[in-house]
């Protein structure tokens, strides 16, 4: 006899489809005497849905029929004899009783879920034996429905980007759900593009914010290329929401979107991100397998075709800066390369990392200054000034190689060499106190201040077409 309760079952979130049904009222005591046909243990005929004991488990796997008008009775056996009588009920298979709390000894209540078709028989039996009982749950189905409603209601709370919690870290599933919600809420402004599939076959999504036009000049922002840098994906989610809020409200952002498109890739390394949640919070790279090595993953920010193989990356597959066997070996990188090449009209490219509080421009692979160094330096200075205006967070800026370290095969070196002049890399909070393990309370402030820097760059890009 199963002790798995139906309530637990419902918590697994299976959908219950209520069946239309007519309720047969239970006879009153006077009627009962008339209906009594002798041995109360004789079954009523089983019509309609008959619930087999083993069916419960099967129901877990496939959407089950309902439990219409099932009741849960609580029985108080006064003595051992009464306990025995209740035990006899257990043996009657055709009643299909589900003992939630089996008969043990007098004084301990016995709880039984009784299918509708057995209700009359059981109650008559109990009353005939003078066994006290009460109806604990009058209608199990409606209770389940209510619970299901509650669960749906709970899910309804995260069925809107207005009730989504931006001040906490989310899983890949939650972020992917968020993408769909945002698109559903703003179909005129936001669309979701799949640019590829990861090594482990997860879809790679980019949000497109556009008010029309045909292949307008565009701004690209990506977060989470290094999966352990959790504040970046979290900020990306916040940026997405911010854009939808500010379009039509904030003149600057409205102006940008009336002339340009924005592409936002929030989880740029989905396999790595899933891995940081499931196995190793400190995972940085992709999850691709390298032949002849036990080590997994390539550093996606060393895999681009700019100075590939130079000092500033590693040929050791076990290294966290492993560059891969060849440029764009990583599908996560190749997908973006394809997108950028096919689009052909991206004017600013911003790749977001953490931590160190820096705003960087090319190059990382060479100490040769970028031809637009002066302009990029000035723009970087304005951007970090805007950033620090909010909470006083201090950012340093400069070229990658002079400000942080030599890095070859990095994203913005490639995009810059493709002609995307305004190519920047951010390193968000903090400066080493928590590092990657930035407390969630800092997500929104980080996103807010970074947004000011992004707006500076985007506005500048709009006003300086090339």
């Amino acid at each position: 006899m199963g002790t798995a309760t139906s309530l637990e079952f419902s918590k697994m979130g299976r959908a219950w489809i209520p069946m239309a049904e007519t309720l047969v009222p239970l006879p009153t005591s006077s009627q009962r005497t008339q209906a009594h046909t002798g041995d109360p243990r004789l079954p009523l005929s089983c019509s309609g849905e008959c619930w087999q004991p083993g069916q419960e488990l099967a129901g877990v796997l496939s959407f089950p029929p309902t439990l219409p008008r099932h009741q849960v009775l609580r029985i108080f056996a006064a003595d051992e004899a009464q306990v025995q009588k209740v035990k006899e009920l257990e043996d009657l298979q055709h009643l299909q009783l589900d003992f939630w709390k089996g008969p043990t000894w007098p004084g301990t209540p016995i709880d039984i879920r009784v299918p509708f078709h057995s209700l009359q028989a059981v109650k008559i039996f109990l009353e005939a034996q003078d066994i006290r009982y009460e109806i604990m749950i009058e209608d199990l189905q409606s209770l389940l429905d209510e619970e299901q409603e509650q669960m749906f209601a709970f899910r309804a709370q995260v069925q809107s980007t207005d009730t989504f919690n931006y001040a906490t870290y989310h899983t890949l599933e939650e972020i992917y759900n968020f993408l769909d919600l945002l698109v559903a809420e703003h179909p005129q402004l936001v669309s979701k593009i799949q640019i590829g599939k990861t090594y482990e076959d997860r879809p790679i999504y980019v949000l497109k914010f556009s008010t029309g036009g045909n292949n307008r000049p565009a701004i690209w922002i990506d977060t989470g290329i290094h999966s352990r840098e959790w504040v970046t994906q979290a900020s990306g989610v916040w940026f997405a929401k911010k854009i939808t809020q500010d379009y039509g409200q904030d003149p600057a952002l409205t102006n940008i979107l009336n002339n340009m498109d924005i592409f936002l890739e929030i989880v740029t390394n989905p396999d790595g991100f899933a891995f940081t949640h499931s196995k190793n919070r400190m995972w940085r790279k992709t999850r691709s397998l390298t032949s002849n090595s036990l080590c997994v993953g390539v550093d996606p920010n060393r895999n681009w075709d700019a100075g590939f193989g130079n000092a500033g990356s590693s040929s050791n597959p076990c290294s966290d800066q492993y560059r891969g066997k060849f440029p764009n070996s990583e599908v996560e990188v190749q997908s973006i390369v394809n997108f950028v090449n096919n689009h052909g009209n991206i004017k600013a490219f911003i790749s977001i990392h953490s931590y160190s509080q820096l705003l960087l421009y090319p190059y990382g692979y060479t100490s040769e200054p970028a031809p637009d160094k002066e302009e990029l330096d000035k723009l970087a200075k304005s951007a970090v000034t805007a950033l620090s205006s909010l909470y006083g967070t201090k950012f340093k800026y400069g070229s990658i190689i002079t400000t942080i370290y030599q890095a070859s095969g990095s994203t913005v070196d490639w995009t810059y060499n493709q002609g995307i002049k305004y190519s920047f890399t951010f390193e968000l909070r903090d400066s080493g106190r928590y590092g990657f393990l930035l407390p969630a309370s800092q997500i929104v402030p980080t996103a807010q201040e970074t947004w000011l820097a992004l707006m500076t760059i985007m506005e500048y890009t709009l006003n300086h077409p090339y």
Binding site: N316, S319, T385, Y405, A407, A440
Partner: protein, 297 residues
């Protein structure tokens, strides 16, 4: 434009400059540094752009000044032996250097600090004057320094004793792991363990830092042993260090013995990244160094 990063009276760095600067000149340099004769970084947002790609191949970058300040603080924290008085870098204010391509970099620094612990929600501000010598490519730079603006010595000792008492109460520290947790949270009840772990890590980070590599402690991942008595706390744990520029996460197993006011005793062993299975044709990646024990016991 005034060449940045050099005291006006300093000899120009050039090729094959022998390290024969008289001590008087060095002292003068230091004094000048202290009196701000070195070019100050007036705008903290502006990075110092050291001479780059010109005649002085060995000129250090602005980033190296930061590293020098950081490692000086690791050294300071270790030597102070006080988990309640840990300092972190705020800003490098002035930086001067002298380069000897044969031997290494002498870096003079003035930098501001913040206390790791907040007092009334704010960190306590301090200032340090340091001289850091990075011997070419070698770790464990030689450091002389002095800091001002710190808490009074007695007060520090008092706080350390309080911390000690708190730590003695922790019986099941052995089950502790993941401080901070994956979401950056540190429960206030285990905060003292984290502070002590950072103190021990400071020794390790000082010993490992070179002019190119520096470290941050990310997480206390495991406690192997925790013994408290009236005489000392005996703490054996694993801390994950984040190494720049390699981006590696280095687990270091640290065994320390601490008592307030006494010098910290530390023994440690860090794991290195695996070797590639296939033989590498390049020479840039050496095989994993066999982890050896280091200690000051």
């Amino acid at each position: 434009m005034q060449p940045r990063g050099q005291p006006p009276f300093a000899p120009q760095p050039g090729p094959a400059r022998p390290y024969a600067a008289p001590w008087a000149l060095l002292l003068l340099q230091l004094l000048l540094t202290l009196r701000g004769a070195a070019v100050p970084l007036q705008d903290p947002a502006v990075p110092l752009q050291g001479p780059r790609g010109t005649d002085s191949p060995a000129a250090p970058s602005w980033a190296m000044l930061q590293q020098a300040a950081r490692v000086a603080l690791h050294f300071f924290n270790f030597h102070s032996g006080s988990p309640s008085e840990l300092q972190v870098l705020a800003n490098v204010q002035t930086g001067g250097w002298q380069v000897d391509p044969q031997r290494g970099y002498h870096i003079n620094l003035v930098f501001s600090t913040e206390s790791y612990h907040l007092q009334d929600g704010k960190p306590r501000l301090g200032k340090c004057f340091a001289r850091v010598f990075f011997q070419n490519q070698k770790p464990r730079p030689a450091i002389t320094m002095t800091c001002t603006g710190l808490s009074e010595k007695n007060r520090t000792l008092q706080e350390d004793h309080l911390l000690y008492e708190q730590l003695k109460q922790m019986k099941d520290a052995l089950t502790v792991g993941g401080i901070p947790d994956d979401y950056g949270y540190i429960d206030p009840s285990v905060r003292p363990i984290w502070d002590l772990a950072i103190l021990g890590s400071s020794y390790v980070m000082w010993e490992r830092t070179t002019q190119f590599s520096y470290y941050y402690p990310l997480q206390l991942s495991r406690v192997k042993q925790w013994k408290t008595s009236d005489h000392a706390i005996d703490f054996d744990y694993t801390v994950l260090l984040h190494e720049f520029p390699t981006q590696e996460i280095i687990p270091c197993h640290i065994h320390l013995i601490w008592y307030p006011g006494k010098p910290l005793k530390v023994k440690y062993r860090c794991e290195e990244i695996q070797t590639p299975v296939e033989a590498s044709s390049g020479t840039e990646e050496g095989s994993a160094v066999a982890a050896t024990e280091f200690s000051n016991f």
